[in-house]
Amino acid sequence: MGGKAHADNKQIVEEQKRQAKDAALKEAQRQQRIKVGLKRIGYAFEGQPVMKTATGTFDWKGFDPKKPTVGLPAGYSAVQVDDPNYKAATTTGTDAIGGIGETDNWGVGGLDRFGNQTIKPPAGQTLGSGTRATRGGNFTYDPASDHRGVQLAGSAGGGGTAAGTAPKVWAIKGPDGKLHYQTDGSFNWKTSTDTGKRKGGFDDKFYNEYGQAITDYYDPQVASQYDDAQRELTYRLARAGTLQSSAANTEVADLAQQNAVNMGAIANKADTAVGDLKAKVASEKQKAISQLYATENPDVAANQATAAVRDISLQQPDLSPLAQLFNIAAVGGANILRGYNNQQMIGNFESGLPPSAGSGRIIPA
């Protein structure tokens, strides 16, 4: 008696294939989750793009196949696709390979007795890409040939899709993937474009407010110290009797310069703090992304991003009181002694000098 060929590991192989297919599907979903997660993190930190919606009507009359991108709304593209109106003729064959119109008698479904495919379409025709045939009919082997079968009388073959390829036509593909064919005529389009503006996230306003808060804290201290320094200088100059002198002007201008440089330094301190804050924001974003990869779950990553955003919003600058900023010239102390000495000198030569007109007189340059 004859033996039998059988597959040893068919079930195992099927399971392996199923697992590989599952793995591919899961990986595709994981990558999609990561992309969505990254997008959400971007929105949380940099804000959501503000989109502008535009509508219009596309007229095929202006369409030039040589310049298919000209005149298309943003997000729409011109593509060449199979003519949707092309009707593939369906025939009912009278043989095993119904549908391609063969007239000779081939074996069952075009298989020879060894199971090899022997379909050869007739001259001038190609096999269609659709269902080849609903196999039908009963066949027996042709005793004269190993490769051909003979259809039994009265057993018709099944139907099939005729050979041939649909012609290509132009269509406009929308952002949603919908195709608008030329034969359908003009169509209304709707598109949204990025305005370049952002809503939410850490914008310039956020950073400016942070910097402003720092300068608002320090500037009054600088102003107060400047006032004190001016007052102290006034006293010292007055004590020395040099209030209206060239030396006084030098000290006044020096204090003004110190004030300007100090305020500039405070502004620089605020700007540096803003830079630190930006670095912190970037660091928090990186943490959220790392967590996204760790969890591969966009929701968790978005929550992390939101928490980070909250933490940053609560961030406070390190505002410590300023030390003594202004150096005031030691006008008084030195001049008291000099004034005393001058008086002595004046006393010594009083008889030889004209009447005193005061000290610190400005000599025009």
């Binding site: 591919a24 990558q31 030098t250």
Partner: protein, 209 residues
């Protein structure tokens, strides 16, 4: 007892059937290997395509980051930041720079804003002297603040090179990380695809008479 002739014919027929069956099994095994090979070939091509796609994504990000931190790009960024920071610091530096015009046309009227108590009665010579000194002080202050802005723009000001380069590298690294993450995942999938075995066929002979 069976007729030996019949036995011999039956044995021969069985032998012929075995030969045909073995041939059939071999054909099925060949087809199975062909299918497996075609599937592996397809998976390999698909994997190569994905790996190449991710590699290109990472490479583009790396090149973009490299271009971003190139010397000309950093010089341009530093220039822009220096100008921004200088303007910002000057605007925040109080009355001396607010009230004092820059360059030609400096006016002596600025002196009035800086007079101390008791100096208001000073004559024009006095006030002119103060105005000249105030204007000089403003020039000096502008120079110092400009130097501060220049120094800051090279370092850790909000748009300085510290933040500028860090931001570029970080954005590049984020894209590279994503591409690597995808490559890692795709490779894992490819591993499972490679582990799929071909179907093996065995021929079991019939009963020998």
């Amino acid at each position: 007892m069976c007729d030996p002739t019949i036995m011999a014919i039956a044995s021969m027929a069985s032998g012929v059937a075995d030969v045909m069956g073995q041939a059939s099994a071999q054909a099925k095994q060949k087809q199975s290997y062909d299918e497996w090979f075609a599937m592996q070939e397809k998976n390999r091509a698909e994997q190569n395509r994905k790996q190449e796609e991710s590699r290109k994504l990472a490479e583009a990000a790396r090149e973009q980051a490299l271009a971003g931190v190139s010397a000309p790009s950093q010089a341009k960024a530093q220039d822009a930041e220096q100008a921004r920071l200088d303007a910002y610091l000057q605007s925040q530096s109080g009355p001396l720079l607010d009230k004092t015009p820059t360059g030609a046309g400096e006016t002596t009227s600025v002196a009035d804003k800086f007079l101390l108590a008791g100096q208001q009665s000073g004559d024009d010579v006095f006030k002119s002297d103060l105005a000249a000194k105030i204007n000089q002080a403003a020039r000096d202050a502008r120079g110092r603040i400009a130097a501060l802005a220049t120094a800051g723009s090279f370092g850790n000001s909000s748009g300085g090179l510290d933040n500028f380069t860090t931001d570029i590298f970080q954005k590049g690294a984020q894209t590279i990380d994503m591409a690597n993450e995808f490559r890692r995942g795709d490779l894992a999938v490819y591993g499972t695809q490679q582990a799929v075995n071909p179907v093996t066929w065995t021929y079991t002979p019939g009963i020998r008479l």
